[in-house]
Symmetry: none
Subunit: 409 residues, 2 copies
């Protein structure tokens, strides 16, 4: 099967938005053995959308569209598909009912323009969107398939997973892959350590520098998923052994979810006191469903007053300075005690853009106070403000993972 | 002039790399008044590259290619262009000389495969690349122009600025645009309010749904930037008047930065106590450089124990329930008092995926305690966990902006 991905929206042609949907869909298709030879981007123009679909129908079996399903006059994907297949859209009374309910449950009034979102054509089956007002379309046309999904990535991904996949069949093909997430080692070092693997074709080993660390992807294809897994396994095992102490998770894992799983199993609770990360550590922990089962909360100890509330004595700040081992430790111990947690985590440092109290941008201390002792580590890695916050947060959580596993000395 | 942007590389079709070049080039063209109707992505396949170029020559005047200029067998952009214009590539002796020098200056040996990087065709002028071994091509063919640039963004951007721009002429042209950020109103409602403007061509008015609210972009083009601004101004003024109470900023603004500016001017400080948003409000405020000048910190009041630390009485939780107006207000007043802030902000609610204490996912209360009084608002908007957190956070900050401006009753 050959697929073609079409991204729709004038903002994409004006450079105001970077298209991430098409890369994500490409990965989904690759994993199922579907070839993608072309991707196209077209603006909110009815005739050009039609022409792009007609061209794609000439050379591809499956056409995945995203964007242009909003309620306004310049959302023209429905019209473009209808023109390409020669049909006329009509309102679907069942969808109108659902749309009305959706608006009333949100206590907002439905606008007349929303009514174009309930259009369908005879060859289209509407695809539910539980988190938005734009239904998708699944269109069968002369042996080919056209799928229209909303542009917002969160809506598109959910519709793909819950509505589109079950309607497609990809035939006998086994592609197995996993992505190993590491932290605390650079991409070139990973490359050196894995040098013997990077020329392999099947299984294949590839490294990618990401914001949350370096990812290593091990993949293999064969006649079935089982065979592909068997082919990949020995290589994956060697890769994981070589990188063991830097690995924090796989695939959809987040560091927070990995930590939460361990804490939940042990029945332990964690609390945080953040200065330099300003809430980011807590935010990433509370992104995990069920986090209230292992996360108590804590302090955003930004000002000195807030640090004192978290249990740091004024003399400690005076003696060591705000950005210091002493203050980091004191925050970790303080939040552990004040919230009655098993573990207290803390950060202090300089996010920039200006140096702070004579300390350079990127300098930070992270501390952990646990049932068996305390740890504190220094980090020095200049960067932009958001980068510094993310690195310090990730570093602390990686350190906490190692502490939970008993690997920290 | 109509341009078309073509990104070349199989990794783009496998989803292993997100294409940022085409968005960047789109912005460059937009600012010079060049229309882009289509963008294409094609893999490292000689015939498909040729076909894509031939198709682009039918409908566009200027074709910008990036990628596929490396030294390996699967770098086929040169071959694709040569096939499309019907010419044969030959080595350029001058470039061979330069390439040899480049390698010897880096104390590296030139590989034979690098020799394809010095190919040219009769209608191509080579474009220097001071930071790589891939020359670009500037091709004139039957009144149209094809430009080939390297794939790495840093090389592509430099070649565009230093080599390509001087060879193109865009004529007298001024393009002015601004993006107005709103929050608290849906895209379809914005569409209705702005109905009289959405059919305008120049100036143009377009709406986009974003994670931080609905954006409205007003743009105009004319013979000079000044004239374009004059053309856009009356429309911009009307748009801003119609949406006034929903607007929180323009262009590169973030809500945090807008709030910070006002607080700093007044010398007022804010503190936050977050339950449902779990640190996100603090995280977004502390993303702003200089936030320590107006943000004190606060509590991540996730557990009931943490809520009590933030000043909520146990009886209040028992009487009203955790997700209630009473607890939201109590958190806002508590954090204001405990940190000695001018303003206290608070959130409580149900992020999901499970209901909490009998309350549905998406239900939330946000509260503000200020020098002149308190406000509390209910929000009910189901969604995924991260969506709920972002909406509640944005909603609270928008409400706070209105409170600062004295617009809240």
């Amino acid at each position: 099967m050959v697929a073609e991905i079409v991204s729709i929206g004038t903002e994409l042609l004006l450079g105001e938005l970077i298209d991430t949907n098409s890369a994500w869909l490409s990965g989904e298709l690759r994993d199922r053995g579907v070839f993608v030879f072309f991707k196209d981007t077209v603006g909110d123009n009815r005739n050009r959308i039609r022409d792009t679909i007609l061209r794609a129908l000439e050379r591809s079996d499956l056409i995945l569209l995203s964007g242009g399903l909003g309620p306004t006059d310049d959302d023209l994907t429905r019209e473009g598909i209808a023109d390409a297949v020669g049909e006329t859209p009509r309102e679907d009374p069942r969808l109108l009912e659902e749309l009305r309910k959706m608006f009333s449950s949100r206590e907002r009034t439905m606008s007349e323009t929303n009514r174009k979102q309930i259009w369908v054509i005879p060859s289209a089956e509407p695809l539910d969107n539980p988190i938005g007002t734009a239904w998708g379309w699944f269109v069968k046309h002369s042996g080919k398939i056209i799928v229209a999904m909303p542009g917002p990535p969160i809506e598109m991904k959910r519709m793909w997973r819950e509505q589109v996949l079950q309607r497609l069949s990809f035939g006998q093909y086994g592609f197995w892959h996993t992505t190993v997430h590491t932290l605390g080692i650079g991409e070139s070092n990973v490359g050196e350590i894995l040098a013997e693997f990077t020329d392999l074709k099947n299984p294949s080993v590839a490294t990618y520098a990401r914001r949350h660390g370096v990812d290593v992807r091990v993949a293999a294809s064969s006649g079935s998923l089982d065979d592909a897994l068997k082919l990949a396994e020995p290589t994956l095992c060697k890769v994981e052994r070589l990188l063991a102490k830097f690995i924090w998770g796989h695939d959809e894992d987040t560091i927070g979810a990995v930590l939460g799983k361990i804490l939940k199993e042990r029945g332990e609770m964690v609390a945080v006191a953040e200065s330099v990360t300003g809430g980011l550590v807590a935010d990433s922990l509370t992104d995990c469903p069920g986090s209230s089962g292992w996360f108590l909360g804590g302090f955003v100890a930004y000002s000195n007053g807030a640090k004192r509330l978290a249990g740091v004595r004024a003399e400690a700040i005076e003696r060591y300075g705000v950005v210091s081992e002493g203050v980091a430790l004191s925050l970790a111990k303080g939040v552990r005690r004040k919230l009655g947690a098993d573990w207290g985590l803390a950060t202090t440092g300089v996010a920039g853009p200006e140096p702070l109290a004579g300390q350079p941008v990127g300098l930070a201390f992270v501390a952990i106070a646990g049932p068996q002792g305390t740890w504190v580590r220094k980090l020095s890695w200049p960067g932009e403000r958001r980068q510094v916050k993310e690195r310090v947060s990730n570093w602390l959580l990686m350190l906490f993972l190692r502490a939970l596993k008993g690997e920290l000395e």
